[in-house]
Symmetry: C2
Subunit: 353 residues, 2 copies
């Protein structure tokens, strides 16, 4: 039988609860489809700081490389917010991404028909939205050197090299080729030198994909257009910090940040995680929405393990669960037949998968 | 009689049309309130490039300093998009802002009750929204050195000094004192050194304003919260590029980017401009919405000339015009009694003012 090693990083806050439900669903589909998943747990973020005084312990950075894929919950919380930067949970996550060289963060935003009323945007605006944000993840201002803060002046460097832009652009164009063949590259080329190189390089790569229509948009306009008319977008290609901002904004089209998965992919490794954070305020209460994590597990099956059928079963099960009116608390006001706990909704999805 | 010198910069695209309407309204209220406005025109952006080969000619940079305030339309257009950066229209605007030392960009976002259906967000979400984005305007990554692009690698520097942060923070707290006394400072302190200094400095300034409640929010979350629940915000304080993105996003709460004014203020000078761009695609057709510019003129009367009564008259006239159902084309689907041209709506507002 096919057997895969999955590295699990539960993290902080609601991380452990939502990962548990994803594992429940993964176990159900792997059993049904006749393959085996073996899990190894690793520490990251606050949990790792508490245990080892290091937000990204060596065992984690090395260990995950032995796995076929990494499934990650969420990290962070007030408890660790006042530590120096190199000891923060977030620094651990950035180190992990860099170490795994997962340069492409793929964030699909689809609006479930069943939840079209859950968004603060009008149903007519969000119904049928189906876009993907392709965000560069291990470059840009997040990692640029030099950087510093002497208490009187502080600075960071936003930097991209041409090869960095080329490889992320290819990811976006490859994805577009399997979809509506439209890429919108987002930058601030009217102000930033780094955006000018971004734009010029994306133009060059576009020549390799004559079937794909490439447009460019300034980031301020993109933040507006995502709300004005989100259906105009197919694939949005952008850098690290613009992608961070725009993908969180775009998550609101779906009605809850608890619904959206992501895949972070490089040449060798893949990291799968919900786009939401660790939500310490609701941790341990059994009310967190595990769907984003379960959907991330489906992306993992598809992209890392090539288990397309199993991935499709999970996605189908999520839809069925929602269309039958099962809702976690965050979505309880939208056509809910029954409000479920984190673990109840996980079981229902596992059951349908 | 009181007499003021106004520098007019019409700019490109729809700039001339919308400035013309603002002047019409200004003339009406100044006459009614017994003061005199004298206008001098200056070139900036594309118009300046065409005439002088320089997007910010010396006559403009010097001339505006002789005025009591500057009223500005919009600049830019495809025609000039492929010029080298130092010759672009946008570079002219950045030079003007820097030269005038207008470090505080104040962007109020209010939702007119009359247009509560015009937003793509649900009326219940946007009705009653009344927030102000206070954006630092002459620092951060827009101006940071070093910067460069050698065709293979490009970079910009996001930099703030403590005094720069202190002065913009004070502007935000001063504004909050006259409102609901809440400041939400937006940064990315979990990743950026410059945001850490931002946050620490804003905390220090907050001590001077014990009555104001200060909160902090990461920029990705802010982009989400602006859509999820915009009414939570009173004053949003942020840096140059985050403010650029968030204020454009926030403009969508009002239903049209054609409605929102801004004031850019420094120790000595003030620059008043709509937050929208030059919209070359609709220029010269008489369909542009001049309301953002007319509202910017009202801000100019209030902040630069201390003509509070006249400012209030303009704002009242805009409300009356909208509540009677007069609409430019961008808003023609929302409770319109009559769809008006740019100049018609300007005349109606002037008449009511
Ligand atoms: C936690 C934080 C460092 C992270 C980021 O900014 O990349 C998060 O916001 C995300 O988008 O995954
Ligand atoms: C035209 C451009 C340089 C400008 C900016 O980014 O500041 C505009 O978007 C604005 O917000 O006024």
């Amino acid at each position: 039988t096919r057997s895969y090693k999955i590295a699990l990083i539960k993290g902080d806050g609601i991380g452990p609860e939502i990962i548990e439900e994803a594992v429940k669903v993964l176990d159900a589909v792997s059993y049904a489809e006749g393959f085996e998943l073996k899990y190894d747990e690793y520490l990251l973020g606050g949990a790792a700081i508490d245990a080892t005084d290091d937000p990204a312990p060596k065992e984690t950075l090395e260990g995950v490389k032995q796995a076929d894929a990494v499934l990650f919950g969420a990290i962070g919380g007030e408890k660790w917010d006042n530590l120096p930067r190199e000891k923060r949970p977030e620094t651990g996550l950035l180190k992990l991404r860099k170490e795994m060289e997962v340069f492409a963060n793929i964030r699909p935003v689809t609006v479930y028909n069943e939840l079209v009323n859950a968004s603060t945007l009008k149903p007519s605006v969000v119904q049928g939205v189906d876009l993907i944000v392709v965000r560069e993840l291990i470059g840009g201002i997040y990692f640029g050197q030099p950087r510093g803060n002497d208490g009187n002046k502080a600075f960071n460097t936003m930097v991209y090299s041409k090869p960095e832009i080329e490889r992320i652009a290819r990811v976006a164009f490859d994805i577009a080729m399997k979809r509506s063949k439209r890429v919108c590259s987002v930058d601030k080329a009217n102000v930033l030198d780094v955006s000018q190189l971004w734009r010029d390089t994306v133009e060059e790569i576009a020549k390799e994909y004559p079937e794909v229509t490439l447009t460019h948009m300034y980031v301020d306009n993109a933040a507006m257009q995502l709300i004005r008319d989100p259906k105009q977008f197919d694939v949005i290609l952008t850098g690290n910090i613009f992608g961070d901002i725009l993908s969180d904004e775009a998550s609101m089209l779906s009605g809850s940040i608890g619904l959206l998965p992501s895949a972070s992919i490089g040449e060798k490794f893949g990291l799968y995680e919900p786009i939401h954070g660790s939500a310490p305020d609701i941790a341990g209460q059994g009310i967190a929405n595990p769907i984003a994590t379960i959907a991330s597990a489906a992306m993992m099956l598809r992209y890392a393990l090539n288990e397309e059928v199993a991935a499709g079963r999970i996605e189908q099960a999520i839809k069925q669960t929602l269309s039958e009116g099962y809702r976690t608390q965050d979505l309880s006001s939208y056509d809910a037949k029954e409000v479920c706990s984190t673990s109840e909704i996980g079981s229902i999805i596992a059951n349908y998968a």
